[in-house]
């Protein structure tokens, strides 16, 4: 039993934390997060140089990490800095699908992703799927030259700046069958693909995609036709871990900000941290954040375990993070009082991110139901 990170991971975390402290101040972040671009190409280039993108990929795929604890270390640091650059959508989600399902020619793009020159995104969720992994209405039909896609994709991360989409589409089966889901590589320049972007409340930008007769060559199919579900589950599982770790980093930041405030804000002539009503709430937050940290450790450790163990640990973590993230956000705002409601206070932005993480890759309720279903499979 050992709860220390390896030397390499500690160094990675240190250099990333230092970079964020020096180059990603709250003011810089706020500007980037509200920008029309949605993230900073310059920061992205530097993330590539620092090896942060590569740390999320396995050696076989051209990276130098890719294990659960690599993802956890990187995303905890990103969470502390409220980083909006596309590490989740591009490196973890789309990158993993390409790495897992792509043939040699398709995987060539991984080098460009790791190098920071190609932005990829996973376009899987749809307007009415509400986190259900197997629910895919977008259809891909065979054509003379390959495939034609029709449908819509929802809330795609950094969609407007994406060069290459990984799109899921149904090639067989009913709308929520696990089999019959296929994966396609779609260049953003493909005719018939319409991308409409908008800002997100917690910073950065997302996009709605329409696919209107998008014609693709036969070489666009990623992996085996109809067998995309397992690949998506693995990639989204890695994304769940990333979000949980990011949330943990944001919780720690929110906690220290709130603690500082309790120690400096005076009312009735004393520091408000001397009030037992607030002390107990703060003690609860600390206790819960430690449980969240354990949940992230459990999920990271299970990332390469058998499917049921892995997915149960991931769902357990997402349930924990969903609940605790919202608690930390709400309590931090409350303990800050009026100032907690303002845009100028960094804490408010941490709070928004903490809550919105529950709206990505399945919320608390979704993962609680999933945890129960997986437990039933395990017992059977």
């Amino acid at each position: 039993m050992n709860f220390e990170h390896t030397e390499e991971r500690r160094m990675l975390a240190d250099s990333l934390n230092r970079f964020i402290t020096e180059q990603y101040s709250f003011e810089t972040r706020d500007r980037i997060a509200q920008s029309a671009h949605g993230f900073s190409p310059e920061i992205w280039r530097q993330f590539a140089e620092l090896g942060v993108i590569g740390a999320l990929f396995r050696e076989a795929d051209g990276g130098f990490g890719g294990a659960g604890f690599d993802i956890a270390v990187v995303f905890e640091a990103l969470g502390r800095g409220l980083v909006v650059e596309p590490l989740l959508g591009c490196a973890v989600l789309a990158g993993e699908v390409i790495a897992a399902a792509g043939n040699e020619a398709q995987k060539a793009v991984l080098a460009d992703i790791i190098g920071g020159t190609t932005i990829a995104a996973l376009a899987h969720d749809e307007p009415d799927t509400h986190y259900e992994l197997a629910r895919v209405l977008t259809r891909a039909e065979r054509s003379a030259n390959g495939w034609v896609l029709n449908g819509a994709k929802a809330v795609v991360l950094q969609g407007e700046r994406t060069d290459l989409f990984v799109v899921s589409a149904r090639t067989a089966g009913a709308v929520d069958d696990e089999t019959g889901i296929s994966l396609f590589l779609v260049s953003s320049k493909t005719p018939g693909l319409v991308v409409r972007g908008c800002p997100a409340i917690d910073g950065g930008r997302v996009a709605e995609l329409s696919l209107n007769g998008v014609a693709l060559g036969a070489d666009a199919l990623l992996g085996v036709e109809g067998q995309g579900h397992a690949t998506l589950e693995r990639a989204i599982g890695r994304g769940v871990l990333a979000l949980c770790a990011e949330s943990l980093g944001a919780m720690e930041a929110a906690k220290s900000a709130t603690l500082d405030y309790l120690r400096t804000r005076k009312q009735f002539g004393v520091f408000i941290g001397s009030f037992q009503a607030l002390q107990h709430r703060m003690a609860d937050l600390l206790l819960e954040i430690e449980q969240a940290r354990s949940a992230v450790i459990n999920a990271a450790a299970a990332l390469d375990a058998d499917r049921l163990t892995r997915e149960r640990a991931l769902s357990a973590a997402k349930v924990s993070i969903g609940r605790i993230g919202a608690l930390v956000a709400e309590e931090s705002i409350q303990m800050h009082g009026g100032i907690g409601m303002t845009w100028e206070l960094p804490l408010a932005h941490y709070a928004k991110r903490l809550v919105m993480i529950d709206h990505q890759l399945g919320d608390e309720d979704h993962h609680l139901q999933r945890f129960i279903a997986l437990g039933k499979q395990m017992a059977a």
Partner: protein
């Protein structure tokens, strides 16, 4: 980062499992598993079995009869005992007084009292709380006045202790008594060992809301205690008290107890029906059960993180307060679910059904007999050992610096 036990620790786990399979009487584990009451003889029997193996005082130093286990081994032992439904080790002599004597007792006291804890010659109870000194423990008012007579130096003790667990079985009590009424409240307290057979000691039962005689009031009227029974220095008893409250808290979360209780709950939920299907598949109930399972998995890792820190040379401080709070919340939630699982059959209450040799009427499923009583009994968890509110005070002071 590695969440697995080492091969050596796995070998140790097997050794514990084999021991439990061989030596734990089924008669005892059946009682524990079904929430039946253990008699004094049952508890003494289990202590003797552990002592014969040298595993009773498992966190005493080797020199005093401990097995020399690491914090991880202690965790594994505790965990396996719970999974096997072994009776708990009574903490009063082994876990509470023992370490205090080892740390603060003189040689004569150690040589006399420690072996008697191990071999069961003495049954100790704890004389800490009073009716006016609960969470505010330093407010104890039981007095000990020093005197001298033909038999030598002694204290005369007067006062009243409350919530004395299993005091009805005890022949000895360790007490916090006030030896200086002038000093500040923490500074006038001494740690005294009192023979319960001394004239002037009277034990009166307190029946708890589940109808059980588990705790007592102990009254002291002009009780003569030889001065040799003072542990540590006079008026320095608060140091002993605090040491006792912080000693060996790596298992305070009760992970094993909750894992075992959750397994039992799952079995019950698979058998009980609601709306034509097992309760385990009833969405609201399944959700509650899943939440507590997730909380438990998280807490288990939190507990192991703390143990790893201790193995690495750290001292469990206020972190154990977090484990106490979450550990008791989880245990209470599981017993709450256990009660809910019984539906209307949680209400019928045949107290005797939990005693040895009961052959009378059974109402409802077997597990129903103890479900509600256990739930009510477990409300104590967040009150004793420093209420959960006191633990939050400790966290906010020691960790948060508020």
């Amino acid at each position: 980062m590695d969440l697995n036990f080492t091969p050596e620790e796995e070998i140790f786990r097997n050794e514990v499992r084999t021991f439990l399979a061989d030596k734990l009487p089924v008669r005892l584990s059946d009682k524990v598993a079904n929430g039946k009451h253990l008699s004094k003889a049952d508890m003494q029997e289990w202590h003797a079995i552990l002592n014969a193996r040298g595993w009773l005082a498992n966190h005493w130093p080797v020199a005093y009869g401990g097995p020399g286990w690491s914090a991880v081994e202690k965790f594994i032992f505790e965990h396996e005992c719970c999974l096997a439904s072994a009776p708990r080790i009574l903490p009063f002599g082994v876990n509470m007084l023992g370490p205090v004597l080892i740390k603060f007792g003189n040689e004569t006291q150690k040589r006399h009292w420690l072996p008697r804890i191990l071999d069961g010659s003495d049954w100790w109870c704890q004389g800490y709380s009073e009716t006016g000194a609960g969470s505010d423990l330093a407010a104890v008012r039981t007095t000990a006045l020093r005197g001298h007579d033909a038999q030598g130096d002694h204290y005369i003790v007067n006062g009243q202790k409350a919530w004395t667990t299993l005091g009805q079985y005890a022949n000895m009590i360790f007490c916090l008594v006030r030896t200086n009424r002038e000093a500040k409240k923490q500074e006038g307290i001494s740690f005294l060992l009192i023979d319960m057979k001394t004239p002037g000691v009277e034990v009166r039962p307190i029946i708890t809301l589940d109808g059980v005689h588990e705790v007592n009031e102990v009254f002291f009227t002009d009780v003569r205690v030889p001065v040799e029974n003072l542990v540590g220095e006079e008026n320095k008893g608060w140091t002993c008290a605090k040491y006792l409250l912080t000693y060996e808290r790596t298992n305070i979360a009760g992970v094993g107890l909750s894992v075992a209780a959750l397994e039992r709950l799952k079995r019950i939920a698979a058998q009980q029906m609601r709306n034509g299907r097992p309760l385990a598949e009833d969405p609201p109930f399944a959700a509650r059960m899943a939440r507590v399972e997730i909380d438990l998995e998280n807490m288990k890792t939190t507990n192991l993180r703390m143990i790893a820190a201790v193995v690495g040379g750290g001292v469990p401080g206020a972190e154990s307060s977090m484990l106490k709070i979450r550990g008791t919340q989880i245990r209470q939630e599981i017993s709450s679910l256990n009660r809910r699982a019984m539906g209307p059959y949680a209400r019928p209450f045949i107290k005797e059904a939990l005693d040895d040799g009961y052959t009378g009427m059974q109402v409802g499923p077997e597990a129903a007999a103890s479900a509600a009583a256990l739930y009510f009994n477990n409300r104590k968890l967040s009150i004793f050992g420093g209420s959960n509110e006191i633990q939050k005070n400790i966290i906010s002071k020691m960790i948060l610096g508020l």
